[in-house]
Each structure stands twice: as C-alpha cells, then as structure tokens.
C-alpha cells in the first residue's frame, strides 16, 4: 500500500535477505552507510550549484551556466578541478595535524547524519535512548577539527579564524542545546523517532502537531536555526572564514581536495543540523496536512531540507556579516536568555495543557514580547534614528 513510502526500506530488506544470517547485520550497516555516503554528498554537490545559481539570481546574475545543462554539472567540474589541483602543504605547517584536520571536520557530520530519520523506518542508526545526545556529541568534535586546521597551518589568518571559530562554536553550542532541551522536555525522550512520533498528533483535522506550531516550538525553531547558522558558519555568522577580514579563516592554507573536504564538511554539518531542526521542530518526515500523507515520507524530509537550504541561501544573499563582539554578544545576550525564556515557556505550555488554547498562548506572548520590546528599546537607544542636515 505504501510502497513508494517504504521503497528503500523494502529494497534494503530484500538485499539483506540474500545474505546468510550471520553477516546480515553487517550488510545492513554497509548499505546504510553506503546510502548516507551516496546521498548527502550528492545533495551537497547539487546544493553548491543551486546555491551559486540562486545567489546569482538574487544578485541579478545568471550564475554558473556553462557546464552541463543550465550549469548543473558545475559541481563535477569543480570536483575534478579540486581533485587535480596541487595539494600544497606550507613548509611551516604541522603536516600530520594539517592532514588530519579535514578528516576530523568531515567525519562527525557524517556520523550525525546517520541518526537522522529521513523517512518512516528510515534511519541508519537508531539510538532509542540517546539519539539526540549522540547528534550533539559528534557535533562538538568539529571544533577540534577546526582548531587543528587553524593551528597546524601556522598562518596568522588561520589562527585568527580558528580562534574565532572556536569562540563562536562554543558560544552558539549553548543556545542550540537549550533550544533542543525544550523539545526533549516536552517529548520526554532523547530518541529522534520518539520526537517525530510526538509531533504526529492531528489538530483541527489537517494540521499535524508539529512543534513549530506551538509558541515554544516556534521560538525554539527560530533560536535553533539562528544558532544552527552560526554552528555551520553560514552567513551572517561566517566570521571564521570572513574573507574580507581574514582571507579564508582556518582553511586559508588548504588547497585542492582538502579544501573541498572542508567545504563538504561544512555543508554536511549544515545538512545535519538542519535535519535535526526539521526533526525537532518541523515534524521530521511528517506531512503538514493529513491529506498529503500519500507523498512518501522521505520526500517530505528532503523537501523540508531543500526549503531550509533555500532560506539559508536567501539569507546569505541578503545579510552582511556580524562583527566578532556582536556575534558573541548576540549569543550571550540575546540567544541564551531567549532560549532560557523559551524553556520557561515550554514548561508553562506543558502545565497549561487543560487551559483553553488562546489562553495558553498568552504567557508565551508576554514572555517573549516583553524581552523583545526591551531589546528593541535597547537597540533604539544604541542606534537612534538619524537625520541629516544640509549645509546652508
């Protein structure tokens, strides 16, 4: 009945069942790993092209349009180029660490992607107890990789970039974690599948109970994605690689394939954290309307991912970058308090379950509204509207 939905699951079962029982778990794992290794880098490749094209369009340019149909094979050209470029290791660099750094940056996002449920019954590594924790854990390893890259290059720009990156990653880790905590709190589980399951209840006939449709979920999603942008070094938080200031940050001294690996790692990280956001707030692979449940679940997941990527590209094409102190202040003075408030809102939401719906929104509106107004006032005090006079 739901053949398109479960097609990959069935396919895998079919393939696995060809093998003798003792090796079946291994085959299953290999297949899952293979799928992750095939799908996400492919999406990465496509995303780079689409991003460049979309940025071009935002900037009134056509974007890459030479290689392949409408330029869509550009990634292949880029890949071949980066593979064939000379791999330059600075003489002063710490060559072993320099070599390992891109690997340390690429592997954790791949691991993290393994626990993301991309569709019904489609998760490579199901950790019913600790799925979310595993995800957050592997995310932290990236910091070390970034540091290794920046330090081993023996370049001042790299060092500055690495310092910025670590400060940024450490600071935004906190709001990211705290905004996921609200979900965990209300779901009562660290399992990503359980979190999706929790969001599957039907409200008002059509809308599913995605977390983003609750006040704490909406705010949490916004906070989460802001922090996710920073964790993934995306504009406007791309300070660690701010080219106008520190050339390319921690991977200034990388070239060729290693550079491509950093690029890959960054995008995989973005996918992973976006996928987590989808799972936590946007209902994972659940459709938005019950009438649309005939669409395969994995399509929903990847569709949501695509929409998120589109928004990220859009943001990247619009916003200037923050300064380091503003970045840190934003994390500690805005995101962190707000995510703490969000926790409070989530708790209130939980305790106000018997209340009428409109009344349940009220505390959230107040709790978010007042700090928002305060921030607004503070901003206005710092940046009052200016008028200009003219010489007589």
């Amino acid at each position: 009945m739901d053949a398109p939905d479960q097609i990959f699951v069935l396919l895998k079962h079919a393939v696995v069942s060809w093998f003798p029982t003792p090796v079946q778990p291994w085959i299953s794992a290999v297949l899952s790993i293979g799928a992750i290794l095939a799908v996400y880098p492919m999406i990465f490749a496509l995303t780079t092209v689409i991003e460049r094209k979309a940025l071009g369009r935002i900037q009134n340019r056509p974007g890459p349009n030479r290689v392949g149909p409408a330029g869509f094979l550009q990634f292949a050209a880029d890949g071949i180029k980066s593979l064939t470029k000379e791999d330059i290791v600075p003489r002063a660099a710490d060559s072993v660490v320099h070599f390992l750094a891109p690997l340390v940056v690429v592997v954790p996002p791949l691991l993290a992607l393994a626990v993301l449920p991309v569709g019904r019954n489609m998760v490579a590594l199901d950790l019913p107890e600790t799925g979310l924790l595993f995800f957050l854990m592997v995310g932290t390893a990236v910091e070390l990789g970034v540091f290794m890259a920046g330090w081993s290059s023996h370049n001042k720009y790299s060092l500055l970039g690495a310092m910025r990156a670590i400060a940024q990653l450490l600071s935004y880790e906190l709001p990211l974690l705290l905004s996921t905590v609200s979900v965990v709190m209300l779901t009562g589980s660290l399992s990503l599948n359980a979190i999706i399951g929790h969001q599957s209840e039907v409200h008002a006939g059509v809308l599913l109970g995605w977390n983003v449709f609750t006040p704490w979920g909406a705010a949490g999603a916004v906070l989460f994605f802001i922090a996710a942008l920073a964790e993934a070094n995306r504009s406007p938080f791309d300070l660690p690689e701010a080219e106008s200031e520190i050339v390319a940050g921690y991977f200034t001294e990388y070239s060729g394939f290693k550079f491509a690996l950093f690029f890959l790692g960054e995008y995989l990280g973005l996918f992973a954290v976006s996928g987590l956001g989808i799972t936590l707030f946007l209902g994972g692979w659940l459709p938005p309307l019950t009438v649309l449940s005939w669409v395969p679940s994995w399509l929903w997941f990847f569709g949501k991912l695509a929409v998120l990527m589109g928004i990220f590209i859009w943001l990247r094409g619009t916003l200037p970058r923050l300064r380091m102190d503003q970045l840190m202040r934003f994390a500690w003075q805005f995101l962190l308090p707000m995510s703490l408030i969000n926790l409070l809102v989530a708790a209130l939401w939980q305790y106000s379950t018997p209340w009428p719906h409109l009344l349940r929104w009220l505390p959230a509106a107040i709790l978010f509204g007042i700090p928002y107004l305060l921030y607004h006032r503070a901003f206005l005090r710092q940046h009052p509207p200016r008028t200009y006079r003219y010489a007589s």
Partner: protein
Amino acid sequence: MNPAAAPRTFEVRPSPDAADPVHDGSLLEVSLGPQHPSTHGVFRMDVVLDGETVVKLKPVFGYLHRNHEKIAENTSYLGSMPYTDRLDYFCSLTSNWAYALTVERLAGLQVPERAEYLRVITAELTRLQNHAAVCGFLLQDMGALGTPLMYAFRERERILDLFESLTGARMMCNYMRFGGCRCDTPPGWLEQARSVVTGFGAFLDEFEALLSSNEILLGRTQGIGILPRELAINAGISGPMARASGVAYDIRKVDRYGIYDQFEFRVPLGDHGDVFDRYMIRALEMRESLRILGAALQRIPAGPVIDPKAKLRGFRPKPGESYGRIESPKGELGFYLISDGGPNPWRYRIRPPSFINLTILEDLCLGRSVADAVVILGSVDIVLGEVDR
C-alpha cells in the same frame, strides 16, 4: 652540510627583545595586504592585534606607484590627459576635468557652455557610479557577499554604457580637452542618459530599502571609525568623508567652478562622522546628483563643445602657475601646474583626495577590531591609482 637544504621544522623563537609584546606572542602582527581580499587594490595595512583589537596600524602603500607626476613633466600637456584617467580609475571623467580646468586656467581658455554642461553631466554621472560602487564595496567588506555590490554594478554598467557611447571607453574615458570636450554626444545619448537617471532613482530607493535600516548594518557601522570634526579639518580631509563629520565643505559650492552655480543642490552633512554617516552622506549625495543631472539634461544648450582657439598639437601655455581643484567623488582633487612656456609642464603636482583621506586611517582604527578596520577602510573610499600615483 648543504646550506641550501634548510631544515623543515619551523620554530617560533622568542626574539632577543623579550619585552616586545609583538614578539613575546601576546600581540599578533598581521599584514593585511597587499594581496588581501579587502584592501581595495594593492594596499597594505601592517596591523598589530591584541586578540582582534587593532593596537597599531601602519598603512603601507606605493605598490602601484607609476611615477605619474614625473611622467607628466616629460610629456606634453595633452599626453597627460589619458594618464589622469588612471589616477582614480573609477572616476576618470572628474580627473580629466580637474586637469583640464587647471590647464585652462594656465592657458586662459574659455569653455563653451555645452561643454560645461557635458562636463557637469559626466561628472555627476561619475559621482553616481562611484558612490554606488563604494557603498557596494563597503557592504562587501562587511561580508554581504556582493549582493549590494552587484546591484550597484548593475546600475553602474548602465552609466558606463553611457560613457562608452559618449567617450569610447567605459572607464578610461579621456574625454575632456583643454577648452571643452573631445566630442559631442552621439545621437540619442541625452535621452538614454535621462532614462538612466530616472532608473537610478528607483535603484536608490531599492538600495536603501535593502540596507539603510538593516540592523546588522547599523550595528556594524554606527559609532565605528568616528572622525571628529576637528581632526577632519586639521588633517585636510575632504569630500564625503569630511562632510560626514559635519564639515560643510563642497568645492562645487565653495569654488563654484564650471557652471555649478546654475544648479540647485544641497550639501548633506553628518553629525557623527562614523562609517554609517559616510555611507549615508554618499547615498544622499547621489540624490542631489540626480537633481543636478535632471536639471542639466533638461537645460543643456546646443553649440560647440570645444573652444575653437584650443590647440591640440604644440600646446604651449605661457609661463605661469595655476592650481585647479574640483569636487571629485572622493573629495578635493587638485592639480598644480607650473609652466615655463615649453610643451611640457615644468612642475606637475596632484593633490589626490584618496591619499589625504587615508592619512587618518590609524586614528580611526585604533582600538577597534580587524573587522572594523576593514570596514573603516572601505568607508574611506580610496583608489590606489590615486593614492600611489
């Protein structure tokens, strides 16, 4: 042992002067440039950083030095004209004008009215495209990934199209001549210019919607790189930079050169003198330029474009000296010439606004972060062709 085979290991040895914080490692000395994505050409800032805070900044330039003044002293008066294009290669027409103005004063040439109008039109168009591009570059330095820059360039291209059809080149226009302009407008040029000017107004609205209320931009630019009014005056700062610090100094108003006294326009002034004011002053000046352009394109008379007395070959002004200055988009651009009656100027000297405006860079950047230094540099609006000459 072969001395050429240097050891592969690299060790940061403490300098003998251990008290020097640069060498004991607490400060970081970084050379931004001359090949750095944000230095607007081959400019270099030797920056000493404490963390990310600039504690010392030394502007280093000269990488683009072309011996312009000495070449001009060994070239005919006319032969220097194309070189002025290359001073400020964003604004070749205003450089042309400044040089032509100076030589005209030296030689006592009159400029026909149509030529004056053409000069005003091209100069204001130059101002438009320069300011638009500078605002774009400023945002680029802030990491806006080129979107505002691309919008600015889209409009700039339209203006460059106008220049190309008028002068034959998009950037190295070489258009002015002593006593007028090299050639008259091609047919349909004025209409095209009017439509470009109209479109530019719409572009400005969009540009300001994109940027002027953007919180990140406000945060990045307000209160940054404050240039006090006194310092601006004492350091001889001119152009939008001085006006952003509240110095009411616009040579179009002060000198009323050309026919600027026939146009209505205002000179916007800032009160804070920070990066945001410099950006906004440029945006407001573009609006004023649009007013001038509208009027000039409306009123331009027919007639010759060059003084018939002007000689192209064998141009030898009588001995004397003159200083001519105009309000270039970057500030006061002045030429100083001494003629000994020969075919070449005896002394040829330029007062480039970019260079003078750059001198206070360290004052603006000290105590701010590298990111601010880059933005401040972007707001100064320099072109290295003019700085290094």
